[in-house]
Structure formats: structure tokens, C-alpha cells
């Protein structure tokens, strides 16, 4: 058993729902107890969809368990088919139905429905949402793709690509897709289809007609991309165009696979390089950031943080073990320990220990950052209603790089303000405790976090003498954590038990070298 306050991913059948809801002409019959219908609200409330997800739940109750829940499943499947007339049906079980072992696959097959029925085996007690989405897309493509397609020769026509990965309830999938379509247009590559978002089963049937695949979300499309690579010899573009540099790499990779000239697409560019090089951004240099989220997003974010904003990555982690290998490699490159866990408490402990100046995380890390009074920007799912803004707000492509610059820098104290806070920290309204002045009252109250204890005894554990503690408070809040940490590390290395003002400045000189 795992103690869970907050969970990074839903159960795997929610992943299947994200695929089904993204598509047209698909209906999902889910063997599940009443109550599991809560999942509808993810789509109707968080994503604000105006339609119910195409899901029928059997909603069995305790009194049904003694009777015939299998019959209940078949009735629900029959009525769902008659009412919605889908081109294809998905059938499966949620966690409770998995335990009663009714075999939705066999039951559905016995019904001989006049459309393809695709059974989903999603082990709820082992796997999670992204895996469920990935497996569902794979099952759909395997079942529906026409195997005997013959691609027309490349001569005399534009190259054609599929985009794999965007789903319903995806973190910025809607807006990222707009950007990536724009890049393809600039490259002169035709889009054959996007799967699953917006595709119908009849579209999926033609998936083999494209020349290659673009894997936008490996956590959802990787298994499918590998299958298509084997089945149709379609090469896969694997660079995720998140950030300025990755977008340039993506364009070059597509150009190479498609055999087109990347120059025009690269020429579009983003404002990110100049915004980052302009002197105002100097203050961003080596700010310590902790990055945690869906592994592929976290890896891409760490690259942007270091190479494009000049931050120092002081922690890197992801919650989906399926990409642990990739995450370990990235962590090694950044020289940090990888944090691979879906235990919120463990992430909280790691962030607390690292004392970063900025957290790039999920909505969960936003809560942790709020508790620790650290600035935070959200970079990945799990999603929240605020992750579906009305405005266009991509993270991919060149516009995505612009959005990243704004949204990651915005939570920080701005350059000149940082100096003024250091110089005049006792100004009655423009001071440290008020927090970044452009963020309003809600972000204030750094005061009180570390007030000088009246009795030094309260701080014995840290070994801080009162004078040193008071001196520490003169350091602005956004670097105070770092100063405290560096000083304590310095003291510990030298066996100093009582930290004085001298120790503080010795440590400062030491770490400056």
C-alpha cells in the first residue's frame, strides 16, 4: 500500500478516456461501479468541454455483485451501441471491475456488434494514466490500421507526416498542436493526421499512408510510434520542440527525415534568445531551479532552464517510471540526483532540502512551493482548470519559447528590484516582506518565515548565533535560503558548531570562489 495525499496520475482507464474523448466516432464501455463517473468532470469542468465524454459506465452496485454483472455489462454495451452508433467501441474494466473478473473483452466479442470492438487490458493496480492512454492508442492503431497500404512514391509530392500524442485533457496539447502544425507548414510538410486528437477510426485506418511520424508526447505515443516503425517502416521524429533550441533541433530533424530545406522554418525564430541575452535578464544567472513533472516535460524544461535562461538546475525529477532511463540520463548531464517517484511527500522533502529559488513543476509542486513560499511555474500535467487558459498559450514551437520566457521569469523578483531590496531593506512599503512588487498582496508574507528568535535556544539545531541569524535576515528572501544552506554546509565541513557573523562571510567568500 502507498500513502497518497495527492496523486500525479489517475488510474489507467482515465488515460483510455483521454484517448476516447479526443477522438470522433469512438465509444468506450467501462465496467465500473457507480461513483467512477466522477471522471466525466475532468473533461467537462477542468477542460470545459461542452460534451460528455463518449463513455458508458455500467455502474454496478453491491446488490448486483450477487447477480449477473456480466449481463449488466452486455446490456450497457448494447444500449450504448444503439444510442451512439460509434465507428468503433473500446471495452474495459476499472479497478473494481478488474477484481470481479467479468471479462468485458469476451462478453463484448460474444455480442457480435457490427463495428470493431477493441478490448483494453489496463491493470489498475500496477499502471497509471499515461500508460493507459499509451496502451489505448496502441490498441486502437493495431486494430484499425489497414496493413496493406501502399505509399505513393515520394517524387512529385510533398512529404506527409502523422503527429502522435495529443489527447483530451492534455497539458497545453491544444495550443502546442497549433504551433507544430505551423512549423510543418513552414517546412512544406503535409499533415496526414493527428492521433488521437480529432481522429476518427476511419482516419486511423489510413495511418500507414504517411511517410513518417512525429512523436510529440512520448508518454502517450511512444508504443504506437514503435509499432508503426515496425509495421510501416515509418521513421519517427523524436525531438520534442519545447524551448527555442529544441524547436530548432525539431525543425532540422523533420527536414532531414522529410528531405526538405529547414531554412525558412528556422528563420521564423523566437524572441527568447534576445530576451535572455538582453542585460535586464542578467539577474537570472545561476538562479537555482528545481524541476519536477512528467519526465519528458521535465527533461525538456531542464534544458531550457540551463541553456536558454542561464539557470542552474538543482533538482530534476519525474513521476512516470516508464521514462526513468531518459530522466536518469538527463539528471546525470545536469549533475544532479534524479528523483523518480510518484510520492508527493518525497517530492516535498526533496524540494525543501534543495532550497531552490524557483520551482518548475506540476500543480502539486505549486502547492509545495506555496507552502515553502517559493516562486513556481507549472510545466506539466496533472492539469488544473487554470492550465486551460482562454488565450493561446503553447509551450512548444517558437511562440512556446516566448511563452516559457514570460511564464517562468514572471514569478521571480525583477532585476532592479532585487538590488533595491538589498540596499534599502527597511523601507516601510518596499521591502523584503512585501514580496515581488508586481505580484500583489497574495504573494507577500515572506515575513515571519524566518524572524529572529528571541531566545537563541530555538535555533540550537542549526547552530546559528543570534547576531549571525540577524545578519542572515539582511539578505533578501530570494537568496536567503541559498545563503543559509551554503553557510551550514561550510560550517559542517569544518566542524563549526556555532555559526557567527564571521562564519557567514567566510562561507560567502568560500562559495564565491
Amino acid at each position: 500500500m502507498q500513502l497518497t495525499l495527492w496523486t500525479y496520475e489517475g488510474p489507467p482507464h482515465v488515460g483510455a478516456m483521454r484517448v476516447a474523448t479526443a477522438m470522433e466516432g469512438v465509444h468506450y464501455v467501462l465496467h465500473a461501479p457507480q461513483g467512477d463517473t466522477y471522471a466525466d468532470l475532468l473533461f467537462t469542468m477542468i477542460e470545459r468541454r461542452g460534451k460528455r465524454p463518449p463513455v458508458t459506465y455500467t455502474t454496478f452496485e453491491a446488490r448486483d455483485l450477487g447477480g449477473d454483472t456480466a449481463q449488466l455489462f452486455q446490456t450497457a454495451a448494447r444500449e450504448a451501441y444503439d444510442r451512439y452508433r460509434p465507428q468503433a467501441m473500446l471495452v474495459g474494466a476499472s479497478c473494481t471491475a478488474e477484481l470481479i473478473q467479468d471479462d468485458p473483452a469476451g462478453l463484448a466479442e460474444a455480442m457480435r456488434l457490427p463495428v470493431p470492438v477493441i478490448p483494453l487490458e489496463l491493470p489498475s493496480y500496477q499502471r497509471r494514466e499515461n500508460w493507459g492512454a499509451s496502451e489505448t492508442l496502441h490498441a486502437l492503431v493495431r486494430a484499425l490500421a489497414k496493413r496493406d497500404v501502399v505509399r505513393t512514391p515520394r517524387e512529385g509530392r510533398r512529404p506527409r507526416a502523422n503527429i502522435l500524442g495529443p489527447t483530451a485533457l492534455g497539458f497545453r496539447h491544444r495550443d502546442n498542436l497549433v504551433e507544430v502544425k505551423g512549423l510543418l507548414a513552414a517546412l512544406g510538410v503535409d499533415l496526414h493526421l493527428v492521433a488521437p486528437l480529432g481522429a476518427s477510426p476511419s482516419d486511423i485506418a489510413t495511418i500507414g499512408e504517411a511517410d513518417f511520424n512525429i512523436l510529440l508526447y512520448p508518454e502517450i505515443g511512444d508504443t504506437t510510434a514503435r509499432f508503426l516503425e515496425r509495421q510501416f517502416k515509418q521513421p519517427v521524429v523524436r525531438t520534442v520542440p519545447l524551448g527555442h533550441g529544441a524547436t530548432c533541433d525539431f525543425i532540422r530533424e523533420v527536414a532531414e527525415v522529410a528531405g526538405v530545406d529547414p531554412a525558412a522554418a528556422l528563420g521564423v525564430g523566437s524572441r527568447m534568445p534576445w530576451w535572455s541575452r538582453s542585460v535586464d535578464s542578467t539577474y537570472l544567472t545561476s538562479k537555482r531551479v528545481f524541476v519536477f513533472g512528467e519526465a519528458n516535460h521535465a527533461i525538456a524544461a531542464a534544458r531550457v532552464a540551463r541553456d536558454e535562461l542561464g539557470f542552474e538546475v538543482c533538482g530534476l525529477g519525474g513521476y512516470n517510471r516508464e521514462f526513468a532511463r531518459e530522466l536518469r540520463a538527463a539528471a546525470a548531464e545536469h549533475g544532479v540526483e534524479p528523483l523518480i517517484t510518484d510520492d508527493y511527500l518525497e517530492v516535498e522533502a526533496a524540494i525543501t532540502a534543495a532550497q531552490p529559488e524557483l520551482v518548475l513543476g506540476t500543480q502539486m509542486e505549486r502547492m509545495i512551493a506555496k507552502k515553502l513560499k517559493l516562486p513556481c511555474a507549472v510545466i506539466s500535467a496533472p492539469v488544473h482548470v487554470q492550465d486551460f487558459p482562454a488565450r493561446h498559450s503553447p509551450l512548444m514551437g517558437f511562440e512556446g519559447a516566448n511563452v516559457i520566457f514570460d511564464s517562468w521569469v514572471h514569478p521571480l523578483v525583477m532585476g532592479l528590484e532585487e538590488h533595491l531590496l538589498t540596499m534599502f531593506r527597511d523601507d516601510f512599503e518596499f521591502h523584503d516582506a512585501a514580496g515581488p512588487s508586481h505580484l500583489g498582496a497574495g504573494h507577500a508574507s515572506h515575513a515571519g518565515v524566518e524572524s529572529v528568535p528571541e531566545t537563541p535556544a530555538a535555533n540550537d539545531v542549526q547552530g546559528w548565533l543570534p547576531d549571525a541569524e540577524r545578519e542572515l535576515l539582511k539578505i533578501p528572501f530570494f537568496v536567503r535560503g541559498k545563503a543559509r544552506r551554503n553557510t551550514e554546509a561550510f560550517a559542517a565541513e569544518r566542524g563549526i558548531t556555532a555559526i557567527s557573523v564571521e562564519t557567514l562571510y567566510e562561507a560567502k567568500a568560500h562559495h564565491a570562489r
Partner: protein
């Protein structure tokens, strides 16, 4: 598209029973408000990732404070017998209590998977109670979807508390208010009873688990919520007597509810009327504004919280709305006897649900307002139908005289908003 239903007997409304897909929350959802109400209690769901995800989706998106609830997620190795589920549970509880030393009562909450694998949480609760005594008392109840619907989770929780209540030694009648109410409303009611000279008055659940109200043969109780069937039965088993009344929604309901206690406790009628007169008159006055918006408007209740019947009665009788269909997940005829009579025979009641057929009726009848769960609201709005999400009705102070207009306003606001918007 009016469904065919048997003719109603006597003065009660006609009843349609349906069986199909139910679009309702399970009883775990009650944790969302119960953990705020009992401030030293923690709720540990023993369930699956789905349970954790439900709580997070229904509640987490709204609450950013550290919650007093969590899930012990059952994993493959627990099911395969590779790990002893009880040892695992003990380990999780130890970790949890170490993190939250302020907790005095821990509820182990059963879920669909824990029920299906027959994990005995009552034995686990006794074992853990001994282990963590006297610091923490450990109780259990089931909030599983196979046994409970939405507000029935609170019923199961309170019913689990009843055996823990100390025996009352009172020799004269004592009053107990049963059902979790917002603190502000609870205080208003306590002031009324105090002014009438009724006391002591206890409440279940209490704000602190260490202050459980005593119960015994001299206990008279008023249900503040219509979904507390099991709790009422458990209290009756301990000798307490239920005072039948309308539920305290609206000026009429609140008046009748308080009146039932006053009469039982022999409060002089003149004194009772003097105590409630000002608030009752204020409530009626405050209802005039929403009434102007709501009068003559049709309303359709999808089944959700079991508050549907009392709310329909309030909206019909005090605001002049026209209920087309009043759906409820479960109809407790005894506790709703007065309500059903007041609602009258011309309203269609439906119990249980087939959500697709019910939505067909909504689309055909096009009510002015549909009360429904979060999964259905935006899809109906997209069809041009105004909705009120029902979860707000269990999250907001809506009982009592001084909240009557707030309650009405919850229904009036979607209509007012529709009139305001020019986009």
C-alpha cells in the same frame, strides 16, 4: 417525452424508478466536507488510485490547504498476497500519524476495491485503536460506490460514530442536532434553542472528536439533513427518539423544524413565535428578490445529494418554481413523509437513474433550470440550458432563516447571469 408512471396514491407525488447508468458521486466524496467539519479527524481511504483521483478531482482542485484526508492505495503486491494487507495498512497509518500528531480520530474509509477483496477494516480499526490509544481513536465506515451514493458517505460516517457516543445519564429530555452543518448555521440554531429555553443541545458530528455528544433514552434528535437513514436508526437503537419535521430549508422549513423541537420540549407557543418572528420575517423579506427571478420558472433535478425533495418543496412553495422532475438517488419515505406531502402530487419523482434517458427528458422538456452534477452541467449549458451544480448545495451554508435567500440566490444566479451576458 413524459415517461409513463403509475398513478400516485394519496397526496404523494408519482414515482418513476429507473435502472441504468447512474451519474453520481460515491460516498467517499463526503470526506470533502467532513474533514473540514471535524477538525481533529483524519480520513484515510483504503482503496485504489481511482479513489485518490476522485477525491483530488472533486475536492483537491478547490482546496489548497494540506488536507486531512489521504488514500492508502492498494497495489498489485497487496492483491497477490505478496504483502500482508494488514501489515501494510499499519505501516501507512504509522507514517500518517507521525506526520500529523494533532490528529485525535482516524477514520479508515472502505472503498469499492476494499469491499470486493473483503478487507476487514473494522478489525483493523480495533487493532489500530489499541495500538494508538489513548492518543488516537480509530473507526471505520464504507464510502464505497457499490454501497453508497454521495451524501450517504456522511450517513455511514456518522452511523460509525454513534456506538462511540458516551451513554447519557440525563433524566430530562435533551436535544441533539444530527448532520454536519456549517459552523455559522449551527450557531444560529443553537441561539434559537437557547432563547426558547431548550438545553443542553448537542450536535453530531461535533467540531472536535474528543467532544462526542452523549446519547440515551432521553435524547430527542432533529435531522438537519435528509440523507441520514442509518445514523437515525443507530441513534434509535440507543434509545434516542427522532422528531419528525420538514427539513430546515427556507423560511417555512426552518420554522417547522424549530417548531417540532419547541413542541416536543413543551415550549410555550407564544414564546416560540416570539423567538423566531424576527428571523422568519427577515427571511421572507429577503426571498422577495430571488422570487421575482424564479417565480413560474421550471426546474429539473437530476439525482445527486438526496437534498432534492426538500429543495424542490422550498422552491415550489416559497419561490413559486415549477418542478418538472425531482430525481433522487434514494427516497427515504419515512424521513421525507412531511416533505412529500408538502411537495404535492403533481410533481414527478424519480428514484435511481438511467442518465441517458433522463437527459432525453431534460432535452425534451427544456427546463429553465437543471440541477445536476459537475459531469453534466457544461454539456447542458452548451445546449443552451441553464444549470446549477448540485455539489455547491452541500458545500454552502443553505440551512436556516438567514441563509434562505442565499439558497434561493444559488438558483437565481445562473438565470440572472444568462440575462446579463451579451457574449
Amino acid at each position: 417525452m413524459k415517461p409513463e408512471v403509475p398513478l400516485a396514491a394519496g397526496g404523494a407525488p408519482a414515482l418513476l424508478r429507473e435502472r441504468g447508468q447512474r451519474e453520481v458521486f460515491c460516498g467517499l466524496t463526503g470526506i470533502v466536507w467532513l474533514h473540514r467539519k471535524i477538525q481533529d479527524a483524519f480520513f484515510l481511504v483504503v482503496g485504489s488510485r481511482t479513489c485518490a483521483h476522485l477525491l483530488q478531482s472533486a475536492a483537491g482542485v478547490m482546496l489548497f490547504a494540506e488536507p486531512r484526508f489521504a488514500t492508502a492505495i492498494i497495489e498489485e503486491r497487496d492483491l497477490a498476497g505478496m504483502a500482508d494487507a494488514n501489515e501494510e495498512l499499519d505501516r501507512v497509518v504509522d507514517r500518517l500519524l507521525a506526520r500529523r500528531p494533532d490528529i485525535r480520530m482516524l477514520f479508515l474509509v472502505g472503498s469499492c476495491p476494499s469491499e470486493v477483496i473483503k478487507l476487514d477494516l473494522s478489525r483493523a480499526a480495533s487493532r489500530l485503536s489499541v495500538k494508538h490509544a489513548p492518543q488516537v481513536r480509530v473507526l471505520n465506515y464504507s464510502g464505497s460506490g457499490i454501497e453508497t451514493t454521495f451524501t450517504q458517505g456522511e450517513d455511514a460516517c456518522l452511523a460509525a460514530l454513534v456506538p462511540e457516543l458516551p451513554a447519557s445519564t440525563a433524566t430530562t429530555p435533551e436535544l441533539m442536532i444530527v448532520g454536519s452543518l456549517p459552523d455559522i448555521v449551527e450557531d444560529q440554531f443553537l441561539r434559537f434553542f437557547d432563547e426558547m429555553g431548550i438545553g443542553p443541545v448537542r450536535v453530531l458530528p461535533p467540531r472536535q472528536s474528543v467532544a462526542l455528544p452523549p446519547v440515551g433514552a432521553n435524547t430527542r434528535f432533529l435531522l438537519a439533513q435528509p440523507f441520514l437513514g442509518d445514523t437515525a436508526r443507530a441513534l434509535e437503537d440507543r434509545g434516542a427518539v427522532r422528531l419528525p419535521a420538514l427539513f430546515p430549508f427556507g423560511a417555512e422549513g426552518t420554522f417547522e423544524w424549530l417548531h417540532a423541537a419547541a413542541q416536543n420540549f413543551g415550549v410555550d407557543e407564544m414564546r416560540f413565535r416570539a423567538v423566531v418572528a424576527t428571523a422568519r420575517e427577515r427571511a421572507s423579506r429577503a426571498l422577495e428578490r430571488p422570487r421575482a427571478k424564479l417565480e413560474g420558472k421550471t426546474i429539473f433535478f437530476m439525482p445527486d445529494s438526496q437534498l432534492e425533495v426538500p429543495l424542490a418543496r422550498f422552491l415550489k412553495r416559497e419561490l413559486g418554481m415549477v418542478p418538472l422532475e425531482v430525481g433522487t438517488p434514494y427516497l427515504h419515505r419515512a424521513h421525507l413523509a412531511q416533505e412529500l406531502k408538502a411537495l404535492g402530487p403533481e410533481v414527478l419523482l424519480s428514484e435511481g437513474q438511467d442518465v441517458d434517458r433522463q437527459l432525453d427528458r431534460v432535452r425534451a422538456q427544456r427546463p429553465d433550470l437543471t440541477v445536476c452534477g459537475l459531469g453534466l452541467a457544461n454539456p447542458l449549458e452548451a445546449l443552451g440550458l441553464s444549470t446549477k451544480w448540485s455539489i455547491e448545495l452541500v458545500f454552502s451554508p443553505v440551512h436556516g432563516f438567514d441563509q434562505a435567500a442565499d439558497l434561493a440566490e444559488l438558483f437565481a444566479r445562473p438565470l440572472r447571469r444568462r440575462d446579463m451576458l451579451k457574449v
